[in-house]
């Protein structure tokens, strides 16, 4: 390995290019062994240019990944149905929860769930906030993680989350009557409350920032652990 670049720095450079820490460790170990063999055998040849090595390792690794072989599928086609499916499931979930709560109340008390209890406004707000947050965060996590695992760079992975941003922007949810169980939800890109919509769009953006930060910390910890425990 080049004297200018230590093994640890080589690993970190690979990780920054989106190569998983475990694979970066493996390559850097073998290249390090190779460099030591060249030294021991007093070979005239040496390892090539570090940037060229990094480029070759990165491109060969990414050619192996599903995203490199099927970029259109990963970038354009798959995210939209995934996001729509998550939103539909998220909308059905509160309906199902209320149905179960009603049935349970009816089974225990023999009457319908009263509509004027203190719990109902809370349930309304819970469903309202939950519908704003959960599908936006969940769809961003699913698409972003899939894109990253498939070998896409962070920027491209964030781009593949555009459907999640759009649905977060256009998602509408409101409480009609706080004393009754009445939350309305739907989708519209044209709304009078643009500020609220922009704030909603921040939800997937924050989820991406959190995942990138978490990924960076995790990769660095793993890289350090792999080097020190060798």
């Amino acid at each position: 390995m080049s004297k200018l670049l230590s093994r640890k720095n080589f690993m970190i450079s690979l990780c920054k290019r989106g190569i998983p820490a475990r694979y970066a460790w493996r390559v850097s170990k073998e290249l390090n062994d190779h460099a030591e063999d060249l030294n021991e055998n007093q070979s005239e040849s040496s390892l090539g240019d570090t940037n060229e090595l990094l480029d070759q390792i990165e491109s060969t690794y990414k050619q192996r990944t599903f995203a490199e072989r099927h970029p259109l599928l990963v970038f354009l086609m798959a995210p939209l149905p995934v996001v729509i499916m998550i939103y539909i499931l998220s909308m059905f979930l509160p309906v199902l929860m209320v149905h179960v709560a009603n049935s349970a109340y009816h089974f225990i008390n023999g009457t319908e769930l009263p509509t004027n209890t203190i719990g109902l406004p809370l349930l309304n707000w819970g469903i309202h906030i939950g519908l704003l947050l959960i599908p936006a965060i969940l769809s961003t996590i699913v698409i972003f993680r899939w894109a990253r695992i498939s070998g896409l760079k962070p920027f491209h992975s964030a781009i593949s989350c555009i459907p999640a941003f759009l649905l977060a922007f256009g998602f509408q949810s409101m409480i009609f009557q706080p004393d009754n169980l009445s939350v309305a939800f739907g989708f519209s890109l044209l709304s009078v409350d643009i500020v609220r919509q922009l704030l909603q769009t921040l939800i997937p953006a924050l989820a991406i920032f959190y995942m990138l930060h978490h990924e960076k910390v995790k990769q660095q910890r793993l890289a350090e652990k792999l080097v020190t425990t060798e």
Partner: protein, 119 residues
């Protein structure tokens, strides 16, 4: 519509063919392989480390090779061996190599069907 079979994948797979053939003889680690290619080809073919290691890992991911850690010269090395799938792949690649080689030689030697092809 039938899809034309091309040999571009095969021609790009020359390093792969050499690696498989050499590893069929004996398990080796990366440095040994680079040296073995140099020796076996009388220094006419040389592949850099940036080509060999990613290729070894790709073949391992495809289960054509398998690796294990082994002590060699007092150090722990990652040694590669050819799997059954790899042996099958090697035999197919060798057959295709002979086909391509014969086809190229036909052209280089004037070609039996050259006149027909260009008239």
């Amino acid at each position: 519509m039938t899809r034309k079979r091309t040999n571009s994948e095969f021609i790009n797979g020359v390093p792969e063919l050499l690696l498989l053939r050499l590893l069929k003889n004996k398990p080796m680690y990366g440095y040994e392989l680079v040296q073995a290619i140099r020796l076996a080809t009388d220094s006419r073919l040389e592949f850099g480390e940036g080509c060999i290691y990613p290729l070894l890992h790709k073949l391992e991911a495809e289960k054509i090779l398998q690796s294990r850690s082994k002590k060699a010269n007092g150090r722990s090395r990652i040694v590669y061996t050819v799997t059954k799938k790899g042996q099958k792949k090697l035999s197919e690649s060798m057959n295709r190599w002979h086909d391509v080689k014969e086809a190229i030689e036909l052209v280089l030697q004037g070609g039996q069907n050259e006149q027909t092809a260009f008239t």
